[in-house]
């Protein structure tokens, strides 16, 4: 990581923690993960020592929370005009995009790390398979990266954070949906099997579920990395062509 990326990463993290965004996000994230796992996921009643009910809801939480932290990445720079300052400093667009993305990803990692009481709780209550739990965390973080890359790219398209948020949610929703049995059944009837597989393999859920079973398959990791690279590349192109509009 070069020093430009590091300087931008530092500045962005500073930005998160010096506005209410960080605290509101972390509190809501912790609150909702708790609610979802204990009530909807029947964390206790299942009588099993694992974090499956906790991770199961992450895609749905991320669907709304990640676009909310990604929306400010570029929209705000464009709206306030700081993008002119940033992009006339001697850095490449790629450095700027990576620095911002990594800052948002670090921030998500911090929020995720703060769910550690859950982990402690299951270890206190029973004897969970901790490798499955670690895989769950890694899968969740990778998925968050995918959502963030989409959100970052979309936020570069608009000066309005609200518009960026709404469009990101819709696109992220499509990426979740494409793995849903309902959607796949719909295609199953008439579309060629290969297409159905492609659609399903594009889904966040498909890859998240398989990591969640405790096996980190290289293919799942590559899927997320390719997805992130694709959206960040698109992000660079958007900034290069539309930064001054």
């Amino acid at each position: 990581m070069n020093k430009n990326i590091k300087a931008i990463l530092k500045r962005e993290l500073y930005g998160y923690f010096h506005t209410p965004v960080a605290y509101v996000f972390i509190i809501i994230f912790l609150f909702l993960t708790g609610i979802f796992s204990f009530y909807l996921g029947a964390f206790y009643e299942r009588g099993q020592a694992d974090l499956e009910p906790f991770f199961r809801f992450h895609p749905w939480l991320y669907l709304f929370l990640i676009p909310a932290i990604a929306m400010r990445l570029w929209s705000e720079e464009r709206k306030t005009g700081t993008i002119e300052l940033l992009m006339t400093l001697p850095i490449s667009t790629t450095d700027a995009v990576l620095g911002k993305f990594l800052a948002a990803w670090c921030f998500t990692a911090i929020a995720l790390a703060l769910t550690f009481p859950m982990w402690i709780t299951v270890n206190y209550l029973g004897e969970p398979d901790n490798t499955v739990i670690i895989a769950g965390y890694i899968g969740s973080l990778l998925m968050a990266g995918g959502f963030l890359a989409i959100g970052s790219c979309i936020s570069a398209l608009s000066k309005s954070q609200v518009i960026a948020f709404v469009i990101s949610v819709v696109i992220c929703f499509l990426f979740i949906l494409s793995g849903f049995p309902l959607v796949l059944d719909f295609f199953q009837g008439w579309a060629p099997q290969a297409l159905v597989e492609v659609i399903s393999s594009l889904s966040f859920l498909t890859h998240f579920d398989s990591i969640n079973k405790g096996v980190i398959d290289l293919r799942d990791v590559i899927y997320y990395l390719v997805l992130i690279s694709f959206w960040l590349y698109a992000n660079v192109v958007v900034i290069d062509t539309r930064k001054a509009d």
């Binding site: 931008i8 530092k10 500045r11 500073y14 005009g81 300052l85 006339t88 001697p90």
Partner: protein, 256 residues
């Protein structure tokens, strides 16, 4: 920073910018040498800021080239950006950052580290008189202080080429005077371009003035030559004479 070796610090050739139907800058050419302070004048919407944005590599020209210290802004933007200090129009800054953190951020990206970084920050804070607001966040600064932070940020790396879009807009009379003296002081070994609507500034700091209107250069000469365009030997009058002559010839209503 490259040495003053005869090539102009800034060379603008056939620069053109179109925003859809708006033809903001029309085929303008000029160059600026080290030691010159160029005043960029013109009515609102003339294309001053647009030209500066193209020189600093923020906007891509529709046509034409910009060379800064011999580096082409299209093919070698990083070198161009490294040698320029730029104050964008409106002096944007990160609202939630304190002044000192903001200056540190810019210094880091400018490649300053350790003792040198500290020394440069101390120097500009002293030059621009920012010591009283260092711990204040930028969104709580008054307009004039915000502008001063923008100027400070542009000077951090002691750039070879300085481009400032309305650097004294919103400053109190004392600060206007300070910034002008600073510009004059730095002029000796830098190439400086400032845009302004205050014509007394041309007299105070510029060694050369360009007037543009509707994206075209109407006048390029020394302050004395500019003043000579007026029957009463006055800058404002000269500005009005030149621009209204242009608008009349364009068949448009005169603006000033």
């Amino acid at each position: 920073m490259s040495a003053n070796n005869g090539t102009p610090a800034i060379e603008v050739r056939g620069l053109d910018k179109q925003f859809g139907p708006i033809h903001a800058v029309r085929n303008i050419s000029f160059s600026v040498n080290h030691g010159e302070v160029l005043g960029f004048l013109g009515p609102n919407g003339a294309g001053k800021s647009t030209t500066m944005k193209m020189i600093t590599g923020f906007l891509e020209p529709t046509d034409g080239t910009v060379l800064v210290n011999g580096h082409d802004v299209m093919t070698d933007p990083i070198s161009v950006k490294a040698s320029i200090g730029y104050l964008p129009e409106g002096a944007p800054g990160y609202a939630e950052m304190t002044v000192i953190r903001f200056l540190e951020f810019v210094a880091e990206i400018r490649g300053l580290e350790g003792a040198e970084k500290q020394q440069r920050i101390d120097k500009v804070v002293d030059q621009i008189h920012l010591d009283g607001v260092l711990e204040q966040t930028i969104d709580t600064l008054s307009k004039g202080f915000k502008r001063r932070v923008g100027v400070a940020q542009a000077l951090l790396h002691d750039p070879d080429v300085l481009i400032m879009d309305e650097p004294t807009d919103g400053l109190d009379p004392n600060q206007k005077h300070e910034v002008r003296s600073l510009i004059k002081e730095m002029a000796e070994n830098k190439a400086i371009v400032i845009s302004t609507h205050i014509l007394e500034e041309v007299d105070a700091v510029c060694s050369r003035a360009i007037i543009i209107a509707a994206g075209q250069i109407l006048f390029d000469g020394t302050p004395a030559e500019l003043r000579a365009q007026s029957e009463i030997n006055d800058y404002d009058d000269a500005f009005r004479t030149i621009t209204s002559r242009f608008y009349t010839s364009q068949g448009e209503a005169g603006q000033s």
